[in-house]
């Protein structure tokens, strides 16, 4: 925390975190309902609403702007639906038409004379003005923060974000059950008395609200990242919706804090100027998502690769044991190593391991099953022949075609039905 400066960093960080949390919690349901891009569309098209509200109230009155943007947000949803239905236009294209036209309108309005003299410019729409939330005259030490002057110093944007984040969290908390069922099956939900389209509109209004509140502070692009990425990361980590929501909140806080540090503190350590914090937070959300995709303990790429490896080794071991068992059945107690190696097709690593774990005994240039190895091998062969028996007798495959499927099935954790006698090839099932 060498470079953390209460005056410069406290409120921007707070704003980023609140925006992040509010967006993330709603984002779960956007991702679930395939509405991710609606969040994108709304965050683009609230711009004209903001500007018009400003023109009408001729101030940066947060309530007025919130109403203007809220109307624009709902209008976007309605227009997209309208174009989809009336114009028979596919939903992606309909969104593209609506948000780009509305955004263009916003850009034009921003450039107009009436708006020019205030500091609402097109660039800060995109990447926000976190940096302007600096607190001049802030206390130097943390204990000094606990005073009434701190409350008075909280900027309006932070307060708005606080309210919106609380609303979003409250909405999800109260209507969690209803939202879950309506996300899963809108029609079922409606017949159960939870009006899906009402929930849909309520969700969209909240998305618009959070978007607007975040807009000024962090900009529209960060809003999209915040809506989608933490929820998507959480989705990689769990199958349970409630866990996913909680995880997404934690991830959103991490994203904001790490992203902010990455932008304002980190460059300072290398003697560089700070970079744009909103952009850095977006990047951080992408980094965390990448980590989730790669490292998720249940479905990450790493764990999948490891399990695949383990499975391959297991299969190679079991195949080797079975190979020797069959040789023993044919009366060959000691099998030459080079023949074993040839049969193993590249998985030669397992041979010394099996010897080490006393499953095999080696003598001169030959190997043989130990007592322990024999038990294990018998198990594999038993499963193999039971599966063959099942495939022929129950599944009706022809006897000469069951060997290969049985080769696969003998290794999985599923027991074939028991049977005693001979397999389809006339071999005894041990």
């Amino acid at each position: 925390m060498i470079a953390f400066d209460i005056g410069l960093d406290l409120f921007p960080l707070l704003a980023a975190t609140l925006a992040s949390m509010g967006c993330a919690v709603l984002g779960n349901f956007l991702v679930l309902r395939k509405l991710s891009l609606m969040g994108d569309a709304i965050s683009h098209s609230v711009l004209p609403g903001l500007v018009i509200a400003f023109l009408v109230t001729s101030s940066r009155n947060p309530i007025g702007m919130m109403i203007g943007a809220g109307i624009a947000g709902v209008l976007t949803v309605l227009l997209v639906e309208l174009i989809k239905k009336l114009g028979r236009v596919e939903s992606g294209a309909a969104m593209g038409v609506v948000f780009s036209v509305l955004f263009a309108l916003g850009v034009l309005l921003i450039e107009s004379e009436a708006v020019r003299h205030i500091d609402l410019d097109a660039d800060c729409v995109l990447h926000g003005q976190l940096e302007t939330l600096a607190w001049y005259g802030a206390p130097d030490t943390i204990p000094d923060l606990f005073s009434s002057s701190t409350l008075r110093a909280i900027p309006r944007q932070v307060l708005t974000l606080l309210i919106m984040a609380a609303l979003a969290l409250g909405f999800i908390g109260v209507f969690f059950k209803e939202l879950r069922i309506s996300a899963f099956d809108p029609e079922l939900s409606t017949t159960q008395g939870y009006n899906a389209s009402f929930l849909h509109i309520a969700l969209m209004v909240l998305v618009a609200g959070v978007t607007v509140a975040s807009f000024e502070a962090v900009g529209s692009i960060l809003v999209i990242a915040m809506l989608i990425c933490p929820a998507a990361s959480a989705r990689m980590l769990t199958d349970k919706l409630s866990t996913q929501v909680i995880l997404s909140i934690i991830i959103s806080i991490l994203t904001a804090v790490l992203g902010y540090i990455g932008a304002s503190v980190l460059p300072g350590l290398f003697g560089r100027d700070a970079v744009n914090a909103a952009g850095s937070i977006s990047v951080m959300s992408g980094v965390l998502l990448t980590i989730a995709i790669i490292g998720s303990p249940s479905r990450g790429l790493i764990i999948k690769t490891l399990r695949n490896r383990a499975l391959e080794t297991q299969i190679a071991r079991e195949d080797l044991l079975a190979f020797l068992y069959r040789a023993h059945e044919q009366g060959e107690q000691y099998v030459p190593v080079n023949r074993v190696l040839r049969a193993m097709q590249g998985h030669t690593r397992v041979l010394p391991k099996l010897i080490k774990s006393d499953l095999l005994e080696s003598r001169d240039d030959t190997v043989s099953l130990s007592e322990l190895g024999r038990t294990k091998a018998r198990d594999v062969i038993r499963r193999h022949r039971l599966w063959e028996h099942y495939l022929v007798d129950e599944a009706g495959l022809s006897p000469d075609h069951v060997h290969e499927p049985a080769e696969t099935l003998e290794h999985i954790r599923l027991d074939p039905p028991d049977f005693s006698g001979e397999d389809p090839h006339g071999k005894t099932i041990p």
Partner: protein
Amino acid sequence: MQSPGLSISEIVETLTFQSGFNTNVVILGTTLLGFASGIIGVFALLRKRALMTDALSHATLPGIAIAFLAAQSLGFQRRSIPILLIGATISGVIGIVCIQFILRHTRLREDTAIGIILSVFFGAGIVGLSYVQSNAPNNSAGLNAFIYGQAATMSSSDVILMGSIAVIAVLATLLLLKEFTLVCFNDSFAKVDGWPVSIVDLLMMALVVIVTVAGLQAVGLILVVAMLIIPPVSARFWTDRVWKLVLIAGLIGALSAYTGSVISALLPRKPAGAVIVLTSGVFFALSMFLAPSRGVIAASIRLLRIRLRIAGDHVLELSHDLNVSTIPNQAFDELSRIRGWSLPLRWLLLRALKHDDSVVRLSNDGLVLSAKGVARGHRVARNHMLWEQYLVSYADIAPSHVDWSVDQVEHVLSARLVARLEQELAKQGIDIPPATPMKPGGAG
């Protein structure tokens, strides 16, 4: 929009390329771009990749920032557009590849993947730009132009670039329309038929990338998607054929770009990109409402006509059911109530019955049917019975038709179908006699 001191001659001059070299360059360049992107957009739309192109354009930003830094470290003093565009292309393509990766290796769906790439890449671009600005402030001013576009900076070499892209778009479409259409419509068939679907796909995507990158400077990366999507979506309202779609989309694209850049040239502080997109939005709205075949107004008129005809049938059928040729006002009101016809609809209905079909005349007693009206009433009533009989006697083979309600079907049966129904029913020994005709007018 106020336009102080904007004279007609000024407008005409701008429209006709007579208002100075720089303005002409901008108008010509954006028009060519609009034409090319309208054409290429057709295939993005038909392949359902509309928003993929949005992700692509946003994903170009980090490439621009990195290319700028790289060019500087290599000793280029001023920003070099070709290098920046190469950077843009590379990072845009990486973005698309990332989307494909996410789709293949995770459980996340396409909309989420697009949103992720769009925002994360753009965020990275913003970080890059802010880094450039604080470390090389002198030369970086132009980089922001890629976000919102700066058509005003177009040079004549840009016009040549746009022109060549338009030529490429036209050539590619002329040569490969057949292949593109096939892959967009039915890729599995194309694959079985031996076409290299992924190569055709790649070609279409490459064209989209070229147009997107070329459009960055003119309209900016946020709005370039509009130039690709809006013209084809608008054109779709006017036609049902791919080649016409391509032509009309190209025209709408060119026309919006032309109109937009002219307006932008005439009015102060109106960025061309935004004006062009708004213009194409106007074209979209016009197309959606006014187009003759798929337009909303034409469709609602058609729908209203059918409703009126069916409602008229119901009225005339009533005369058959009541066995009168003058329907009392009371009975008509009752029917309207049951059918839930609103007042305007009733008014339109009576008008249609009176004037268009001249089957009814209004009198104090009620609706007086002409001979034609009586006959139509009988026909409808009989069709109704036929169809009901058919459904009853062929309950086993009719299920594919039961979603047509009796009410609807009786009005749409053609003479040929009626004859077939009669045949089918005759086979079952069911005969529906033609209804006995009544005398028209007041005899009831």
